[in-house]
Amino acid sequence: MRGRWAELIGGPFRASWRAGLGWSIALVVLIVSTVAFWPAFRGASGITQAIDQLPAPLLGAFGLEGFGTPAGYLRGGLYELVIPLVFAAAGVLFANSATAGEEDAGRLELFVSQPVPRAAFFAGRSIAVFAWLAVLTLVALAAQLASDQVFGVPMDTGRVAATVVLCGLLGAFVAGLCLAVAGFVARPQLVQSVGFSVAYISYLILALFPLSSLLAPWREIAPWGWALGGDPLVNGAEIWRYLLLGGPAALFAVVGAYAFDRRDIRSA
C-alpha cells in the first residue's frame, strides 16, 4: 500500500513540477525585487509623510499605513495584495489541474480504473496540491528572510513567518474550496470561477469594508481577513487564524473526495 500512496501523491506532485517551479520563481522575483527598493524608501521621509496625510480609511484600504516603517513597507508592497493573490491563484490552478482539469481532458479514466479506492485517489491529489502550497510557502519565507538580511529590513522573523504561513493557508483554503467543487463536478471553468471569485470578493471585503462605517465591523468575515486582517507583520497572529483557514481547507478536500466517490467519472 505504501507504493500505491507514493504514486497517488507523488504522481500528481511530479506532474506539477513545472507549475511549481514557475510559481516559486514568481514569488522569489516579486519578493526580492520589492524588498530591494526598501533602502530607497527608508530615507525618503517626504513620500512617507505624503502617504500618511491620506485619510485613514484609504490608507487601510490600500494597506499603506506606516509605509515608512519596514512592516508597513512590506505590507503595502507585498502582503496586502500581491503575495496572498499569488498563493490564492496558485491554489486555484494547482487544485483545478490536478482534478477537474485532468478529468475533463479524459486523463483520469485509466488511473481511476486501477485497484485504488476513488476517495484515496482524490485524497492523493488533494495532498499533492497542499504539498505544493507548502513548498511555495517555504520558498516565499526563505526569499523574504534572505532579502530582509541582504537589504537591511529589520523585521521580526516570527512575524514574517506568521504572515507568509497565513498567505500559504489562504491559498490552501481557496484550493480546498476548488477541490470540493471538483469533487462534485468535473468542470474546470466552474472550479476556477468559484476559486477566483471567493479570493477576489474576500479581498474586496477586507479592503473596502473599512471605508464604510456600517460595514467596517465586518471586514474580517472572509478568508482574506482571517489571514491578514490582524496585520500579522506588526502583531503576529492568533492561533485561530491558522485553524480557521487550515481546518476548512482539509474539510473541503474531504468533502471533495466523498463527492468524487459517489458520482460518474467524466470521459474524454
Binding site: 488511473f111 486501477q114 485497484p115
Partner: protein, 305 residues
C-alpha cells in the same frame, strides 16, 4: 503460483440485468440483459453512440447505472469495486494519456497502483507490439499510444480484460499480433470483453457477440449463429429463361433480380422451397454465399429499424 483465473470460481464473468443509464433526458442504455461466460472472447458490437462504452463504463464503476443490476466476476461493481478492479484490466476507447510521461513511466505508475506488474512480460509485450517505451507519450503517434494502452491491459495478468475499440488506428501487423494475444489469453482461461466496430476482427476473435442499437440489444449469439441468421445471397444460372413467376411466389426470397438466364436474390429463410422450384428446371450453376459478420450486422440493423 496459481493464476488468479484458475483460482476464480466458475460461472458468469459478466451478468447484466436491466441496465439503464440516462444522462438527463438522453437515454444512453435502455434496459440491457446480457451474460458473458468465463473464459470466452465476447464481442460487443454496435455503431458509435449505440451505448457500448456507456455499458462498459458501468461495468467498471466509472458510471453509476440509473437502474439495473450488474455483476462482474461475481462482484458488484459499485460495492466491491476495489476487489473487482484488481481482477480486471481496462483499455479505454477514448484514449487520453499523460503526455509528459514516457511509456515506461506510465507503466511504472500503473504498476505501483496495481501493486506490481511483471517486468519480463512488459518487455516481451513491448517487443511484440514493436513499442519503444522510452519515448514521451506526446511524441508518439495515436497508434503507438494505443499500443501502450494495449500493453497496460495485457501486462496486468487480469482475469477479465475489457477492451474498448482496442485496434483503432493500429496497422494490420499489430492488429494480427493483437488477435494472437487475445487467443493466448483465452487459452490461459481469461475472459475478454471486446467492444469494436471492426467486424472482421470480432469475427476472427470472438466466440459470441452481442449487437447493440440505440441502447438496446438486438441480438446475442455465436458468431456463426448470427451469420446463419443473416440473409444469404443466392445466384442461379438457368439453362433457359429464369422461372420468375415461380420464384416470385417464394416468400423468403427477397430483393429478386432477373437478367435473362441469371437470377439473384437474398434468402431470408429455409432454402428448401427454393430447391423445390429449382429441381423442376435445368440449372447451369447455383451459388449460395454465406454472409460474413458485417453483412449479418447490417441485416440485423435493418431488421431492427
Amino acid at each position: 503460483m496459481a493464476s488468479r483465473a484458475t483460482r476464480a470460481p466458475g460461472g458468469q464473468a459478466i451478468r447484466i440485468e436491466g441496465l439503464v443509464k440516462d444522462y438527463g433526458a438522453v437515454h444512453a442504455v435502455r434496459g440491457i440483459d446480457l451474460e458473458v461466460r468465463r473464459g470466452e472472447v465476447f464481442g460487443f458490437l454496435g455503431p458509435n453512440g449505440a451505448g457500448k462504452t456507456t455499458t462498459i463504463r458501468c461495468l467498471l464503476d466509472l458510471l453509476r447505472p440509473t437502474a439495473g443490476r450488474l455483476e462482474v466476476l461475481g462482484l458488484d461493481p459499485r460495492w466491491d469495486s476495489l476487489a473487482l478492479r484488481s481482477r480486471v484490466a481496462y483499455m479505454p476507447g477514448e484514449l487520453r494519456l499523460p503526455e509528459r510521461m514516457t511509456g515506461a513511466g506510465l507503466v511504472a505508475a500503473v504498476s505501483r497502483l496495481r501493486g506490481g506488474l511483471d517486468t519480463r512480460r512488459r518487455d516481451s509485450l513491448a517487443a511484440r507490439l514493436d513499442l519503444d517505451l522510452s519515448r514521451r507519450l506526446r511524441d508518439l503517434s495515436s497508434g503507438n499510444r494505443r499500443k501502450v494502452a494495449l500493453l497496460l491491459a495485457f501486462v496486468a495478468d487480469a482475469e477479465l480484460l475489457v477492451l474498448d475499440e482496442p485496434t483503432n488506428g493500429l496497422d494490420p501487423l499489430i492488429q494480427r499480433e493483437f488477435l494472437a494475444l487475445v487467443r493466448e489469453e483465452r487459452e490461459r482461461g481469461r475472459t475478454i470483453f471486446l467492444s469494436s466496430h471492426v467486424l472482421s476482427e470480432v469475427q476472427r476473435a470472438a466466440d459470441r457477440v452481442a449487437v447493440l442499437r440505440q441502447g438496446t440489444l438486438i441480438a446475442v449469439g455465436g458468431v456463426d449463429e448470427l451469420r446463419r441468421r443473416a440473409r444469404q445471397r443466392v445466384e442461379v444460372w438457368f439453362d433457359g429463361p429464369a422461372p420468375t413467376a415461380e420464384l416470385a411466389a417464394l416468400p423468403d426470397l427477397v430483393d429478386q433480380h432477373t437478367e435473362d438466364h441469371r437470377f439473384t436474390a437474398l434468402l431470408a429463410g429455409s432454402i428448401e422451397p427454393l430447391l423445390a422450384v429449382l429441381v423442376r428446371h435445368h440449372i447451369v450453376s447455383l451459388l449460395v454465399e454465406e454472409p460474413d459478420l458485417e453483412e449479418a450486422f447490417i441485416d440485423l440493423y435493418e431488421a431492427a429499424s
